[in-house]
């Protein structure tokens, strides 16, 4: 079962990219600097790297927005 980022929940904070994904499967596909200086990142989970180890999904606050979903 693949893991995905729910675009309706994702806050585009980019934190997932800096977390300790064992396979570094979180990849930035776009970044934008907003008017007040906040960086927003569009991130995807690279299915070719993800081993479905469940780390990102099972750790309660791995994603502050709980935007990582199964399937």
């Amino acid at each position: 079962m693949a893991y995905k980022i729910d675009g309706t929940k994702c806050l585009k904070c980019g934190l997932c990219v800096t977390q300790d994904c064992p396979e570094q499967a979180f990849v930035v596909v776009n970044k934008v600097k907003e008017d007040d200086g906040l960086m927003r990142y569009t991130v995807k989970i690279d299915e070719s790297r993800c081993t479905e180890c469940d780390t990102c999904f099972s750790l309660e606050w791995w994603c502050p927005a709980k935007a990582i979903v199964k399937g």
Binding site: K12, C13, G14, T18, K31, D36, M39, E60, P64
Partner: protein
Amino acid sequence: MAEKKYAKYIYEYDPKMFPKERRPVMAYMDNNLAKGSNFYLIHWILPGFGMQKEWDFPYAGHPPHIHKDAELLFHIGTDPENPMDLGAEVVMYLGPELEEHHITRTCCIWIPPNFIHSPWKPISCTRPWIFMEFNQGPVHTEKSYRQVLPAAARAQMDWSMWPDDKYPEI
């Protein structure tokens, strides 16, 4: 006379550490001061703090953010006859949904690592009280989540005061 052997373990807050600090800080510790120490900040909240003109709009206050390590926010009332009464009211929003809470009692708010919290803002104060901020990590870290604020609140905040601190660039 030679200094006592263990005097080095007694720390007094030096206001020169943070010249721009507006709050009456009583104690500060972190791993930079004492190897092995977590982050601790203890200060008074006096009547009027948080109610300044520049924070007079909905969702004003210390803006939404996270920390790498868990945080404990102790709100401590100072009336010895009624120690559980905070003597103040603080608005605190929790989670990305900005769930609203009003704190009027002595308490501790537990903030898990990476949990979005704040705005935090005192909205009334009848008696000075003590705020204690402990991080279960060696230094204070903070990453902004201003994107959860309504656009109007986000536009009114002075963001120069709230940089992402000690979070890696992507």
